[in-house]
């Protein structure tokens, strides 16, 4: 898959907000309609969701709920389809830019949900994993859902960098309103066994299938079986000295790695995973 065509992509926060607010309004309708439908049924012995079931009660509220959930699905699909797929990193092995879906227009965009599942452009064969951090810089996003943006400063995971010939690349993307995102992409000549990788940023669950065909998942903060919990190292200089951490210049198009001094060393910021909670009045 190639990066999304520019004409279709969301271009600014107002376009993103148009979708976010439509989604919020439809979801509020759905919530109210489902509550209303359930309240009309009291304590049923059996329930149905269509006319094939004799217990089906087709209330007006349920018709509204069905229409709303269809609308929600359509808005979510449009949002995911129109998400920008910017270059967020650059492979240190083949120099190919890494394009990933990303919502730079605010943490209230659906991309930041834990269960978002956008289609991704085909990466180079060396790409292993994208982690990341967000310096909220005093901004107070008000999403309709919990967001796990990672720590507030760029970091590396020593366990992953200990894998053969693994190199991380840190970059920076501005987020509307003043926050800054720091994608940290990992590349290696040969991808390690997938089960040893980790949940991609900013998801909370890592779903994988091993070469033996075993399908499994684990939480982002759970270690792989038999290993200790991952640590985050914010002290980037030693990794740069070892040649295991490269960077793209802030504000660049990530088409090449920078060779000037690394601007990401010793950045201030929250050094633990942040939690941006759903705005309480999001359905009001």
């Amino acid at each position: 898959m190639t990066p999304a065509a520019g004409a279709l992509s969301l271009v600014d926060r107002s376009e993103q907000q148009a979708l976010v607010q439509r989604h919020r309004a439809v979801r509020a309708l759905y919530e109210a309609a489902m509550d209303e439908h359930a309240s009309q049924l009291a304590l049923p012995l059996e329930i149905g969701i269509d006319a094939s079931n004799s217990a089906f009660v087709d209330t007006d509220a349920y018709r509204r709920a069905r229409a709303a959930v269809t609308d929600m699905a359509a808005i979510e699909a449009e949002y995911l389809r129109r998400l920008p797929r910017p270059a967020v990193s650059c492979c240190p092995l083949c120099a190919k830019p890494l394009h990933r879906s990303f919502d730079p227009f605010g943490l209230d965009g659906l991309w930041w949900r834990s269960d978002a599942h956008p289609d991704e452009p085909q990466p180079c064969p060396h790409f292993c994993l994208l982690l990341g951090a967000v310096d909220l810089a005093g901004t107070t996003p008000a999403p309709d859902f919990d967001v796990h943006p990672g720590p507030g400063a760029p970091f590396v995971v020593p366990r992953i960098l200990a894998m053969p010939e693994m190199v991380a690349v840190v970059s920076e993307i501005a987020i509307s309103g003043g926050a800054r995102a720091y994608p940290v992409a990992y590349f290696a000549p040969r991808r390690p066994p997938v089960q040893l990788l980790a949940a991609p940023w900013p998801r909370t669950r890592f779903v994988y299938k091993t070469q033996l065909g075993v399908q499994a998942w684990r939480r982002a903060d759970e270690p792989p079986a038999g290993l200790p919990a991952d640590t985050r190292d914010f002290d980037l200089a030693p990794w740069i000295a070892r040649g295991q951490l490269r960077w793209c210049a802030p504000g660049s198009d990530c088409s090449q790695l920078a060779t000037t001094s690394c601007p990401f060393v010793d950045l201030a910021g929250v050094r633990h995973p942040q939690l941006v909670v759903a705005a309480p009045a999001s359905l009001a």
């Binding site: 919530e31 329930i47 909370t204 669950r205 998942w217 759903a278």
Partner: protein, 310 residues
């Protein structure tokens, strides 16, 4: 066409009525009001609720007093069993619709672990979040704050819960483990509810036990499609109430050091199929007979052979 469905709220209600001294014909009248033209469902349902299979049907006579006497005896006979039997339920009635819609739309079979219905009223409440993190936490069943997650040292379930870890956890260790994940335990005045790093009180998430393709019986929660399925189910639920993949695909589901008491197969549970049927699984033995599990039980739960062989 009627579907066989197990709706825990009705089961609990009938048992409460019986315990409060309601006569059997009152129980039947309650069911008949809800069964429409379906003559047999009320008596069949009584048999299921009070562990008497078809005995209510066999002992029905045209004499109401005689039937009441016979049925009272039936209800009393198995009181010990039905009183302590767990009742798998969802947190809200509306969630049954959501699971049914999801299963029909995606043509999947979902087995979901029974939840605490007291949590339903907390969903979406200000200052309350949904939790399904790395450290399992019990949901309060008694006031104060019934339905919220808590670590109440006086909760009789907690001792068994902590003993379920390998090695068994002391209460202080458990609180420390929660703290390491950004969770803290409030005081006794709040029922020892657990709060997250944002200070929110928490209710449980739905814990899926398994998600299988309705036609092929293959696992449907795959790397390619799993999170789309989770997002779709959450859309039907109206918010993120499913925060994880199915328990039977969790990397640590057989490891007591991580899973603690949530190790292995979890019951009681409800199965939603793609055609609006809802079945209950109260024992691992019955669960192991569900086809997707029957064909891969030893592979999924090697430490729980008790399931279908006992």
């Amino acid at each position: 066409m009627h579907r066989s469905q197990y709706l825990g709220a009705v089961v609990r209600h009938l048992r409460r009525m019986a315990l409060a001294g309601a006569a059997p014909d009152e129980l039947e009248a309650f069911l008949r009001m809800r069964a429409g033209d379906d003559f047999w469902t009320p008596t069949r349902f009584l048999g299921m609720v009070f562990h008497q299979r078809n005995m209510f049907m066999y002992q029905r006579t045209t004499d109401v007093a005689q039937t009441n006497a016979a049925w009272s005896k039936l209800i009393e006979e198995r009181r010990e069993q039905w009183q302590r039997e767990p009742v798998p339920e969802l947190m809200r009635l509306r969630d049954y619709f959501s699971f049914m819609q999801f299963c029909q739309q995606e043509k999947v079979v979902v087995v979901v672990v029974g939840a605490n219905p007291a949590a339903g009223s907390w969903i979406g409440a200000p200052g309350v979040g949904c939790y399904d993190g790395a450290v399992p936490v019990l949901s309060r069943v008694a006031p104060p704050n019934a339905g919220l997650l808590a670590a109440d040292p006086s909760d009789p379930r907690l001792a068994d819960f902590l003993a379920g870890f390998t090695p068994p956890l002391e209460y202080a260790d458990y609180v420390e483990r929660l703290a390491a994940h950004g969770l803290r335990v409030a005081g006794p005045d709040e029922g020892f509810v657990v709060k997250d790093s944002a200070g929110r009180r928490l209710h449980e998430a739905y814990r899926l036990l398994g998600v299988y393709d309705a036609k092929t019986d293959e696992p449907a929660y795959t790397p390619a499609d799993g999170e789309r399925l989770r997002a779709t189910l959450n859309r039907h639920l109206g918010r993120e109430l499913v925060l994880s993949g199915p328990h039977d695909a969790w990397e640590h589901h057989n490891d007591r050091r991580v899973a603690g008491p949530f190790v292995g197969p979890l019951v009681p549970a409800l199965q939603f199929d793609a055609d609006q049927y809802i079945y209950e699984f109260l024992t691992t033995k019955k669960l192991s007979g569900l086809y997707p599990y029957k064909i891969r039980w030893d592979e999924l739960f090697p430490d729980h052979p008790v399931g279908r062989r006992s």
